[in-house]
Amino acid sequence: MTETLSTEVHRSVTVNATQERAFDVFTGKWLSWWPLEHHIGATELADVVVEPVTGGRWYEVGTDGTECDWGAVLAWEPHGRIVLSWHLNGDWEYDPDPAHASEVEVRFVAETPDRTRVELVHRNFERHAHKPDQVRGGVGGEGGWGTILTGYAAAFV
């Protein structure tokens, strides 16, 4: 039996809105569309902030005012594209190690002046793993997972 194992998530949606509006709602009104049960702070979500600059923070704000990081803004290109690094693990806890971070790329493609296709790719999500108590040199390092997954995917094609 031949199996194909995809190691990325691809999702897209086309909306009746301008590219600018689609970008602004996605990045600036995150809380209006995000499934609210997915958060890491102790209290309910009050906001999710994507700082509008490459290198900026991506974080949630709880109803008690506590900020919890989700990741970083790797690319901020209004109104066409953003790339976020996602530092959350399977338990929705923040993991500061970039080797454990996955990447979310979102493109906003204007099909017509008032119709926009939003294309989302979540890649390297298998890098999310609980931070080991002791990281041993050469094992959990950068590039480890990419190599693993290339081999892993190839094993099933």
Partner: protein
């Protein structure tokens, strides 16, 4: 724990990740893994047990040997979880974008 969380938790251990990496390039027996890695044979067996429970590794008997290989079920569980999450998120997003203008 959900299957995707079990899979991620199992891979949180660097030795288990290393074993998984070796198996990604082809099936191996416990002895072969122990020879290649700085880990004792009983320890390899224990790690394989955890990986198997997480559905990241599966085994089959070949003659007198038991060969271990990667099981796509575990990683697929992680992928499916993320796929479902983004599907719901984008459906909500489309509704909000079109409703509020």
């Amino acid at each position: 724990m959900e299957p995707y969380q079990t899979a991620l938790a199992a891979l949180g251990d660097p030795t288990r990740r290393l074993i998984f990496e070796r198996l990604a390039s082809g099936p191996l027996a416990v002895g072969q893994l122990a020879d290649e890695l700085p880990v004792s044979r009983p320890a390899v067996s224990q790690h394989l047990k955890v990986l198997k429970e997480a559905r990241l590794v599966r085994d089959r008997a070949v003659g007198t040997r038991r060969l271990y290989s990667v099981d796509p079920v575990g990683v697929r569980a992680v992928r499916d979880y993320m796929d479902e999450l983004w599907g719901r998120a984008l459906a909500n997003f489309a509704r909000v974008v079109e409703e509020e203008q």
